[in-house]
Amino acid sequence: MGVYAIRRLAQSVVILLGVTVITFALLYALPADPARMIAGRSATADTVARIRSELGLDQPLPVQYARYLARLVRGNLGRSYAQKIEVTDLLRSRLAATFWLMLGGIAFELLIGLPVGMLAALRRRSAMDQSVMVGAFLGVSAPQFVVGLFLLYWLAYRWGLFPLGGYGSPAHLILPAFALGIAGGGWYARVMRSAMLDVIHQDYVRTARAKGLGETRVILKHAMRNALLPVVSMVGLDIGTFMGGVVVVESVFSWPGIGQLAWQAIQIVDIPVIMGVVVVSALAITTGNLLADLAYPLLDPKIRYG
């Protein structure tokens, strides 16, 4: 386990390095000139050249990258071109918002997915099972921005139950978290259902029944624990993906997370900010994967990593 964890950690570092190389190359190879963007339309060629050399943009790409990396390992992501603030400061204020949204989104995924998937498995082939599965597909196929806009329209605008977007209180969180969680809820329901069906016919479940345990106890204590395994790894992945920024939902609800930050930075080609978000996102996604992998043997003693 220890060796495995260290090897996976080392792999993650390599992956992250690769991500920075590719993103850096892509962003700086694209036909957008940050120096000109900063200087503005009416700037003279001299001004543009001066800004370019101040930012080190006149250096060859590998030199620029080496400098970036040297700063990155010291936790310095550079300064925003547009706002003249350290990127780390920008990110810090946004990460909290993204964190809450991630938590809320995953809570809804589990709240929807687990009971629905369990019920479908226990009432297999019933009308409910079938409608639940079509419902799960509906959730998966619904575009987040449409769901979000309609939640805003009915629950916030028409009925006034929730604030019309924004950030600050638990009430602000519910609608965006639901819009975010609905698709995952559909997936979780499907995975939970088939995991439950796998488990329920195993010998140990039969044993539990045979020794006279009540059905509720059999299901909740014995069957569910194992059926939850695949869901655990999905949660790990989702922690990463959601922390990596949920651009669409954040944009619909004007949620000030890092997805919004990325989106604003992209529109003005604020490359240090874009780079910063990508690095943080990739870090979140890799950590999420790592967590999912490492949690597995803790939950399932049958799995041991050498």
């Binding site: 792999q11 390599v14 992956i15 992250l16 690769g18 991500v19 590719i22 993103t23 892509l26 962003l27 694209l30 036909p31 957008a32 297999r124 079938q130 599965m133 079509v134 597909f137 509906l138 998966v140 196929s141 619904a142 575009p143 987040q144 921005f145 449409v146 806009l149 309609f150 805003l152 329209y153 605008y157 499907r190 259902r193 088939s194 069906l197 990596g244 920024g245 651009v247 669409v248 944009s251 997805g259 990325a262 989106w263 992209i266 529109q267 080609v269 874009i274 978000v277 990508v278 996102s281 990739a282 996604i285 890799t286 994967n289």
Partner: protein, 297 residues
């Protein structure tokens, strides 16, 4: 306790006839097929079945105050912000969605198959490099990357399709990789290799037919992902450029008018939902039918 001896489970793809039979028997899949046919039909026949011209701005298409009109006998789904017929725009929008869906998917399947098959067949360092590369691609925040590329590259239909393909091929590649890994160890491949059949021929004649069912399944499911992805890009304003009609684009344009004209979000939203749902239902049934081992019961 009775022990029943069962033959070791063989991963055998079902014949096309059984697959079709199963699809026919699944109500959800039939529904999906009908919707898929309708969307494809609408996209192909758009100039003949759409009531108006998609670019035409009607003088009576806006209310006296300049607001879009709700659904009526003249404009079945109402009009958009510029007084154009929404139904017509949606029918033409199917073209963009499907074209991008097919292009992006075809590209993702091709790249994914090439990489995945090569890695699974040659193993060794090729597969190590492949695994690390795909790990890396999976660690990318896909949507952020796609938005950045699409925004900076001035989005066209091709760019949007290629950006989506670049993000999606990894998943296909991983699936193909594991399939080839197991198939290439089977006796008939070893026999072919022992007989000195050239590698490209082994790929094409012996391996590829085993990948076709998987490609069919993921190709179908992939259209759904792609349609959704394209809609998200358009919604954020980095999809195909207006005035080209697109579903996500219509929602993006109408977003600020949403409270007054909710149909401008509802109808394109329903189009995206139905199309994505239909391809999901068909793909899921195909998967169950083609690979009994993966059947989700």
């Amino acid at each position: 306790m009775i022990v029943t001896a069962t033959a070791p489970a063989r991963r055998r793809a079902s014949s096309p006839a059984t697959v079709w039979d199963r699809v026919k028997r699944t109500r959800a899949a039939v529904f999906g097929l009908v919707v898929v046919a309708a969307v494809i039909g609408g996209a192909l026949l758009a100039p003949w079945i759409a009531p108006y011209d998609p670019a035409r701005q009607f003088t009576d298409g806006l209310s006296p105050e300049g607001r879009p009109l709700p659904p009526s006998g003249r404009f079945w789904l109402g009009t958009d912000l510029l007084g154009r017929d929404l139904l017509t725009r949606l029918i033409y929008g199917a073209r963009v969605s499907l074209l991008i869906g097919v292009l992006a998917n075809a590209a993702a399947l091709t790249i994914g198959t090439l990489f995945g098959a090569a890695a699974g067949y040659f193993r060794g360092w090729v597969s190590t490099v492949f695994m690390r590369l795909t790990d890396m691609m999976m660690a990318f925040p896909a949507l952020i990357l796609a938005i950045a590329l699409a925004a900076i590259l001035r989005p066209s239909l091709w760019i949007v399709a290629m950006v989506i393909a670049m993000v999606n091929w990894v998943w296909i590649a991983r699936i193909i990789y594991s399939q080839v890994l197991s198939t290439s160890q089977r006796e008939f491949i070893e026999a072919a290799r022992a007989l000195g059949v050239p590698t490209w021929r082994i790929f094409w004649k012996h391996l590829f037919p085993h990948l076709l069912p998987i490609l069919l399944v993921w190709g179908t499911l992939g259209v759904s992902t792609t349609v959704m992805f394209e809609a998200s890009l358009s919604f954020l304003g980095v999809g195909v450029r207006p005035p080209t009609p697109s579903w996500g684009g219509t929602i993006n344009e109408s977003q600020s008018y949403f409270l007054e004209a909710p149909w401008l979000v509802a109808f394109p939203g329903a189009a995206i939902l139905l199309t994505s749902l239909a391809f999901n239902l068909v793909g899921d049934t195909l998967r169950d039918a083609i690979d009994p081992q993966l059947r989700s019961r």
